[in-house]
Symmetry: C2
Subunit: 331 residues, 2 copies
């Protein structure tokens, strides 16, 4: 079975770890392709950092700090301390020493002219994540947040997503998100093929605006999703009206979307009416959303959605695959 997923950082990576476990336990031959969000990528101190790709790579390659959810296990932050002592900005970015090893290899390779997809493959040759990890695009397309300037009252400014997310903990009300440069971005090699040739496409419980939403904004990707023969099933990142982790509510609010499993599902929309979803998993606590989703043309199941451990997550993945196959048979 060929499964293609779109993924942001921690939520996506953890879900895919469960998906891997489920497919491995099922005994059938399978291939997972992960199309990773690169809108959060940032240059810091001359290093190209790809937070979401690295979170997927480290999580699936067993190098992640599982407590923190991002960055490397047994990490130190000595270079960061030094940068701070020199008084250079940004001081808020969590640049770990082991992590810097990855960024140095990536930056040198990019500066040598290799595209990000090749560089990502080279990094994965070490980590062996057990999936094919593709950046959504090799082009630069950065997520910025439109906010009232924290420095100059009355000024509205665009701020890099990472600054808003990490430095301000998403506490500055967002007027909107803009994906700078995305209109000229093209999907990285393999991305459209992975969508066209998949047996199942799964949207993990990643942030619908700044993770999945960014990927969908790369010209060609939403079209490919609307045209693929594969059923597309998403997992709600919202449970009982709140994001399981992260600050997706701040992102949804900016786009005028309620922080509910129902509203997020409807926002993606049903494929038979111009959206991208065939199916949508909501948590059992959100079972009352089922009827509205089904009425909108989205197959829905209410199942436990807390990724408490790998078995619980594998069970979620199994529900997603089951729903996809049921919808394919029905369709």
């Amino acid at each position: 079975m060929r499964v293609t997923t779109l993924a942001g950082g921690i939520g996506g990576a953890r879900f895919i770890r469960g998906l891997k476990a489920h497919l491995a336990a099922s005994g059938q031959e399978s291939h997972i392709t992960v199309i990773g969000n690169t809108g959060d990528d940032i240059w810091v101190h001359g290093l190209r950092v790809c937070p979401d790709l690295d979170t997927v790579m480290y999580t699936l390659g067993d190098g992640i700090d599982t407590e923190r959810g991002w960055g490397r296990r047994d990490e130190t932050f000595h270079a960061k301390e030094e940068l701070q002592a020199y008084g250079v900005e940004p001081t808020w970015f969590g640049l770990g020493d082991r992590d810097i090893g990855t960024h140095l290899v990536r930056t040198a390779s990019l500066n040598a002219g290799y595209p990000l997809s090749d560089v990502t493959r080279a990094l994965c040759a070490r980590w062996k994540p057990g999936v094919e990890l593709l950046p959504m695009t090799n082009d630069r397309a950065e997520t910025h947040v439109i906010v009232d300037s924290p420095d100059v009252p009355g000024n509205r400014v665009a701020m890099h997503f990472q600054e808003w997310w990490i430095k301000y903990r998403a506490s500055l009300p967002a007027h909107d998100f803009v994906f700078i440069g995305i209109e000229n971005a093209t999907p990285a090699p393999g991305v459209l093929e992975a969508i066209a040739e998949a047996d199942v496409i799964v949207l993990p419980p990643s942030n619908p605006i700044v993770s999945i939403g960014t990927i969908l904004a790369v010209p060609g990707i939403t079209d490919a999703l609307s045209q693929t023969d594969a059923p597309i099933v998403g997992i709600s990142p919202i449970i009982s009206g709140a994001p399981v982790r992260g600050m997706a509510d701040a992102c949804l609010t900016a786009r005028g979307i309620e922080t509910t499993a129902l509203a997020v599902g409807l926002n993606y929309g049903a494929r038979n009416s111009g959206g991208i979803l065939d199916g949508w998993l909501v948590d059992t606590s959100d079972a009352d959303a089922e009827s509205d989703l089904e009425a909108a043309g989205i197959g829905c199941r209410a199942v436990p959605l807390f990724m408490t451990d790998v078995p619980a997550t594998a069970a979620m993945a199994e529900h997603a695959i089951d729903l996809a196959q049921a919808l394919r048979s029905a369709g």
Copy 2:
């Protein structure tokens, strides 16, 4: 008193620490300028590393690992471990995590277009080394070593000095040293002025070929030394026929110079016969070299030259300053 010194890495840095202590104890107002060797500088993993400038800066700024003599105190090598795990070369370069903080600031500043002398001043604003630290040049001029290829028998190759020094521990016989690019290098701003306006110029016990020799090879610097009114006194890095530390013997041999305090002094030569030395300190164990040096026109004193601690080094510096002043009165 304005004292100008030329310096390589560990030996130069330790001597200047003693010089600082002596001048501070003497109570007179003084200003030390250090013209640092940049021939050892190297790009590793996209970072611009200046080993000699950093050794001076860290040593005088009290950030050095005193046991090792180079790099930062309380250092870790996690990024280096990762680079090794990725299989990227060079693996032999001692890139510490704290040190990387310095290299990131330097590299970003150089890439932004600032000259190395400005960048060095900015880094020193944090370390407060108590001296004015100038790179010998802002231009790229790299020391390479001509050796028989360790890989292809019969091939003679040029190898970056750091590779020869660190990876091969100077064990590959050197045919010669070439300072690539130096013929087009110009002294960094302030270098010629520091030589012209000094009251005393001191050559610390640095490597005469690949530290002091490189600085002397920058067009204009040797001329400035031959013309300055300041007396120039050097300290022998060779004691009893062996380098105190490092592998200066391998460098001297390549140039056909005996590893003796006498031969190194004579190689610098007396100013009154086209060289650069007015005075030369040799260790008490090399006192028998005095008459030959004096005969060649170089004022000589035999004093203890082991830099066992700061007071012993301060005493050496005091001897150097005393000899310089005696030679100025005599001249």
